[in-house]
Symmetry: C2
Subunit: 174 residues, 2 copies
Amino acid sequence: MDDRTIAPRDMSRLEKTSARLRSQIACLGLVIERIAGLSGPVFELGLGRGRTYDHLRWHMPGRDIYAFDREIVPIEDCRPPEECIVAGDLAVTLSRYAARFAGQVALANCDLGSYRQAHNEHMAALISPYLPQAVAPGGFVCSDLPLVLEGFELLPLPEGAVEGHYRVFRREGN
Amino acid sequence: MDDRTIAPRDMSRLEKTSARLRSQIACLGLVIERIAGLSGPVFELGLGRGRTYDHLRWHMPGRDIYAFDREIVPIEDCRPPEECIVAGDLAVTLSRYAARFAGQVALANCDLGSYRQAHNEHMAALISPYLPQAVAPGGFVCSDLPLVLEGFELLPLPEGAVEGHYRVFRREGN
């Protein structure tokens, strides 16, 4: 496939982004409630402008949230503390942090999609092997991209989420 | 006021952005229906990544939509045709285009807010004098920022919009 191919869509970009954010809020709401009893950290893969990072810390005060991105350029009041910033190529950083927190991560939230089909397939393939290593039994992965995760089940979407924009996976066990 | 003051908020940035996009879609839906009988162009003030521009052309095929921004950096499949791009400082470009299309504009959609309080106040003050000149009688202004517009009425929000995130003004007449 030409790596410049633009992911197809059946609605305007505004509608698509709105559906994704709405779905993300609904999915994270479900997961935040269900990981209250798990003590491990959260991985935020794809810090971007920091909106979702801000949402996670807003609703889970006190939880360690590690924010990954190639470049760290959040809105200034959404900047994580320095010790929780993981800058650089995910192929390197996620491999390292998945080993460091093996079996401990309560939630890995993955917001790595773009409008490029090839980028999306590359990112999904890149992160999928590391998440089963990192996530605790009974822990969760949320993702804008479809993922194939060994030992996880895909959950039905909560109310408020729109099919096809965000996904919740739960690691079996506990 | 310190021009670095960050606009206050009572929800996470993700929730705030989601509420704004949902409100924007609802408000534009109302206006798109109501300007079907007005033939003038649309002004999109603040092209940004082009998501709203894409929404406007998606739902109003054939309408001339002029897209204003200081820098033109949309997602590549949201780029307006060259003759509809108005690049540069709004203080200059809006003054010129408000004169060129005086009394003809069917809708001016203003998406100029940032997380900076002073920026927001500056932008609202900058555009407010030009919109009454540009917009046709019976035409509309939508805005993420509160505006004071001579000769316009603020409409009740349509279903789906969240109070405080987007506004619809209608110019009196017709």
